[in-house]
């Protein structure tokens, strides 16, 4: 058999493989996005009004572009997300370094607790920080007043949104960078130190540049996630009249009558902005090699900080106090207190005001348990299917020469740019006609989540895959292993921390996801995020906080189980690697 003849079946298989991925992505991404564009450009509901090519016009998009309120919201969005990302990178990178590369005490606890903000739905985070940092009634200000301090904290401001954004989305940066730091060969750092570089210089000239893909991926992800967040700017921005694009879009869908087409047109702005960011990321990364995981065995290096390790511990404790303990305490107060009117510090500690009223009401409602069960089910389905698909896409894009792999990458990235509220209606329009009872089933929710969070998962996996040197696979091929066997025995074990992290991330995101659930759930498939919104919209922060605590506990337990299951096998865990 000639060389050319031997490769022909491989090319055919690669072509079929790419085609299969493109078909899946068309169903999951392109078709709903096309429905969204039709909606944005025709001012019609494609299912109700049918397709009218003659009605396609860019007038609503032009209207949006020329609307000064959109300009104002866009400006606020960019400032909030850029500021929030800067804070998130500083915090996330710093803690990844502390946890993975230093001998700071209790770093396992720090790593696990540092991920907790990810479990908190943005709406609840906003409510928690409003309880703490409201200029009029915030608990922090109550204590400041008690201490005789006149200065007041005001989180109903742009700086408040940036602060909370940065804290809550630092775990995204942390997850990527911790995983990369753990997988990085320390020999380069050792070489730098042998050459006389100080630890500080080594960090900034060797370590951080080497994990640049992870930093940029984490930065990009946190930025685009912030772009799509509604809860935090809604709670903290609304009282100060600081609209952002998501709150504007939410209002468009909430006003009567709802303006989904206009909302879709505003979403196009987000899509363009995000597309530009993704292109920028690819340009930054193109032509540079970040391979640091090679065939040589190594152990992650741990820097001995000496007495300075107590300073890093103190900083970590302050961070945990601010990010985890304070808002959790605020939620606990809200969940157990009958009413949240707190006149002064003494009133806060008046135990007569506390009880289990909200929890009783929560569990008296049969829909609560139904939603918990459905959420777990849809979270697991999403994590498994999404994880497999993301690995397939990530591997194809980063490690093969399969045809159309660049298109696969681009299409898989599209959902990141579409806010959940808008993409939810796109899924409804696209999938309601599917046969076999698909609409109204748990599967439609799971597939919507898989599609919606594909960019997050693919990017998370790609960062891990990019660090595995090609020579390892080549060695397996030389030894006679096929592609699938090589993936199973070489790539998957090495990428396992990233795979577990990506699937866990997907699970968490699926459990919290509200926007794309709103239009797809049925009476028997209601999920926790929808119930949480029900309770919030019912004006009951106590009930909302109680349900949030339940959600956080469930997530914490599940993450802990995941941690235990994966620790022995891959020396990685969600808590540690993220």
């Amino acid at each position: 058999m000639s060389q050319g003849a031997r490769f022909r079946p491989a090319k055919l298989i690669a072509g079929l493989w790419s085609a299969a991925l493109l078909i899946i992505l068309t169903f999951l991404v392109l078709y709903p996005t096309a429905m969204l564009l039709v909606g944005a450009l025709t001012n019609m509901n494609p299912v109700v009004d049918g397709y009218h090519p003659e009605a396609i016009s860019i007038s609503s998009f032009i209207d949006v572009l020329s609307n000064e309120n959109v300009h104002f919201a866009l400006g606020n969005t960019l400032v909030a997300c850029a500021g929030g990302t800067a804070v998130a990178v500083i915090i996330g990178l710093f803690f990844a370094w502390i946890v993975v590369r230093t001998n700071t005490p209790w770093k396992g606890l720090i790593a696990t607790a540092g991920m907790l903000p990810l479990f908190v739905p943005p709406l609840v985070a906003g409510v928690g920080w409003a309880l703490l940092g409201s200029p009029k009634t915030g608990l922090i200000n109550t204590f400041l007043a008690r201490a005789g301090i006149e200065w007041r904290i005001d989180l109903y401001s742009m700086s408040g949104i940036i602060f909370v954004f940065g804290m809550y989305y630092a775990p995204y940066v942390y997850m990527f960078t911790a995983s990369a730091l753990r997988n990085m060969d320390p020999s380069l750092e050792e070489a730098a130190e042998i050459s006389g570089a100080t630890p500080f210089r080594t960090i900034f000239t060797i370590t951080f540049p080497l994990i640049a893909p992870a930093i940029i991926s984490g930065m990009l992800l946190s930025f685009v996630v912030m772009l799509g967040i509604y809860g935090i700017p809604a709670v903290l921005g609304a009282p100060a009249n600081i609209p952002v694009l998501t709150t504007y879009i939410f209002q468009l869908t909430a006003w009567t009558p709802p303006e989904y087409s206009k909302a879709a047109a505003v979403a196009l702005i987000l899509m363009v902005a995000t597309g530009a960011l993704v292109a920028l990321q690819q340009k930054v990364l193109s032509g540079r090699s970040y391979t640091t995981v090679a065939g040589k065995a190594f152990r992650p290096r741990s820097l001995n900080l000496g007495p300075w390790r107590f300073l890093t511990l103190a900083l970590a404790i302050i961070y945990l106090l601010v990010v985890v303990v304070l808002p959790t305490l605020a939620l606990i107060v809200a969940a157990f207190r009958r009413f949240l009117f707190i006149r002064d510090v003494a009133s806060l500690f008046d135990m007569k005001q506390y009880g289990l009223l909200h929890f009783q009401r929560l569990f008296e409602n049969p829909a609560t348990m139904t939603s918990i069960y459905n959420t777990m089910k849809v979270g697991i389905i999403t994590a498994v299917i999404g994880g497999i698909l993301a690995f397939a896409i990530g591997y194809t894009v980063t490690r093969t020469q399969a045809p159309a792999r660049r298109w696969i990458d681009i299409i898989a990235t599209i959902p990141v740019a579409i806010p959940g509220l808008v993409i939810g209606v796109a899924y409804l329009w696209a999938w309601i006609g599917m046969p076999f009872g698909f609409y109204g089933s748990i599967w439609i929710l799971a597939l919507a989540f898989v599609a919606r969070f594909m960019p997050d998962t693919v990017k998370a996996l790609s960062a891990s895959l990019m660090q595995i040197h090609k020579e390892l696979e080549e060695a397996a091929w030389i030894c006679g292993r096929g592609t699938l066997a090589t993936i199973r025995t070489i790539v998957l074990p090495l990428a396992r921390p990233g795979v577990v992290a990506a699937m866990t991330l997907l699970f968490i995101l699926a459990i919290r996801e509200l926007g794309s659930s709103l239009f797809l759930y049925s009476s028997s498939t209601v999920v926790m995020a929808v119930k949480l919104l029900d309770y919030y919209e019912g004006g009951n922060v106590g009930l909302t906080a109680a349900f949030s605590l339940v959600q956080m506990v469930i997530l914490g337990v599940l993450i802990g189980i995941t941690n235990l299951l994966t620790r022995g096998a891959a020396n990685s865990s969600v808590g540690r690697a993220g």
Binding site: V47, T137, T256, P257, A367, I432, L518, G539
Partner: protein
């Protein structure tokens, strides 16, 4: 000015309101009528066994209604889908277009939106249809299952000089900026009703005078009611059912129905032609519309009623003096696109 005499027996025009809408008041009290459905309806509902209930009302409140219904009729399982108004209508329209409408009962606060999809509904009238005020009905297929009304609420721990009228909410000298709060006009039919009332009843300049107090603006009533309890804001017009249960449970709030009038928001509820359990749906809606269901709605949730006579009075509500106000339906639809931009401009709200 067109106060309407609704019915000689029950409704009295309230002089001096000067409204383009309709002013109503309840008629003299009558004995409560028991709801005793025919055995054939009960048997048919029992065979169907379940309904899917789409509603824009608050889920927690509706669950209580379902629980109460199930105490009497435990053989009908009620599965609820709750969504905000605009999203619920989008869902209904899309499902119907795809022939996948799963609802057996659809319940919505915006009569205008429901009127737009009237064709989806089957003919339906409750057994006590004649007991309902004709002027609040927009279609023989759609019925006011609940009827929330607007009140003024204030935080009793913070407000030492409480308002007593709608006009007091324009007193910029008495209340500092941010003390009073409002739900934005474009938030939906419930608030739009109040906005119409303010302009049509309280005067052309009411908005400007109220906006001069620099009120805090909230996207909807529920978070505003919570903010009021917490003391973020001190005074707010609120739909009574949003604040009633908090007040009942001991929150530091007080409410009153202003003497100038009470804008009411009759819901529109119907049974789709495609309902899979039309008998169970009818049983649920008949019960909800009965005196028994309306008393529950008033007593437990702080709603009013669109019955000609109120079978129960919520605290602070005197049916002899209360002036209910409902917008004329054609104006409700026609004026929205014109007046809301004006309101936005006056209040500085960016839509």
């Amino acid at each position: 000015m067109s106060d309407t005499r609704i019915s000689r027996r029950t409704l009295l025009g309230a002089a001096g309101l000067g409204a383009l809408g309709t002013t109503l008041s309840y008629g003299p009290a009558r004995a409560q009528k028991a709801y005793n459905p025919p055995a054939s309806l009960i048997d048919a509902a029992r065979r169907e066994g379940r309904i899917t209930y789409y509603t824009a009302a608050f889920a927690e409140v509706e669950q209580e209604t379902i629980n109460l219904f199930n105490k009497r009729f435990p053989f009908v399982r009620v599965e609820m889908v709750r969504a905000p108004g605009g999203q619920l209508i989008t869902r209904v329209k899309t499902e119907a277009a795809a022939n996948k409408l799963t609802a057996d009962v659809i319940d919505h606060s915006d009569r205008g939106l429901m009127k737009g999809i009237e064709d989806l509904f089957a003919d339906y009238a409750p057994p006590n249809a004649d007991d309902y005020i004709p002027d609040v009905l927009i279609s023989p297929k759609l019925w006011p299952r609940i009827t929330p009304g607007w009140c003024v609420a204030y935080n009793s721990e913070l407000v030492k000089n409480p308002p007593k009228t709608w006009m007091d909410l324009t007193n910029a000298a008495a209340y500092k900026p941010g003390t009073i709060a409002q739900v934005i006009a474009p938030s939906g039919g419930t608030t739009w009703t109040r906005i119409m009332f303010e302009r049509q009843v309280l005067g052309e300049n009411y908005w400007a005078a109220q906006a001069a107090t620099k009120p805090a603006l909230y996207p909807s009533g529920a978070p505003l009611s919570d903010a009021l309890v917490r003391g973020e804001v001190e005074i707010a017009p609120l739909v009574y059912n949003v604040i009633y249960t908090k007040q009942r449970d001991g929150a530091p709030v007080q409410t009153f129905f202003p003497p100038e009038g009470i804008p009411i928001v009759p819901y529109a509820t119907g049974i789709p032609k495609t309902a899979k359990s039309p008998n169970a749906a009818k049983l649920f809606l008949d019960w909800s519309m009965s005196d028994e269901g309306q008393i529950h709605s008033i007593k437990d949730h702080g709603n009013l009623t669109s019955l000609k006579t109120t079978p129960f009075n919520p605290p602070g509500f005197d049916p002899k003096t209360a002036k209910l106000w409902v917008p004329k339906f054609d104006e409700f639809e026609k004026l929205r696109d014109v007046w809301i931009p004006e309101w936005n401009k006056i209040y500085g709200y960016r839509q």
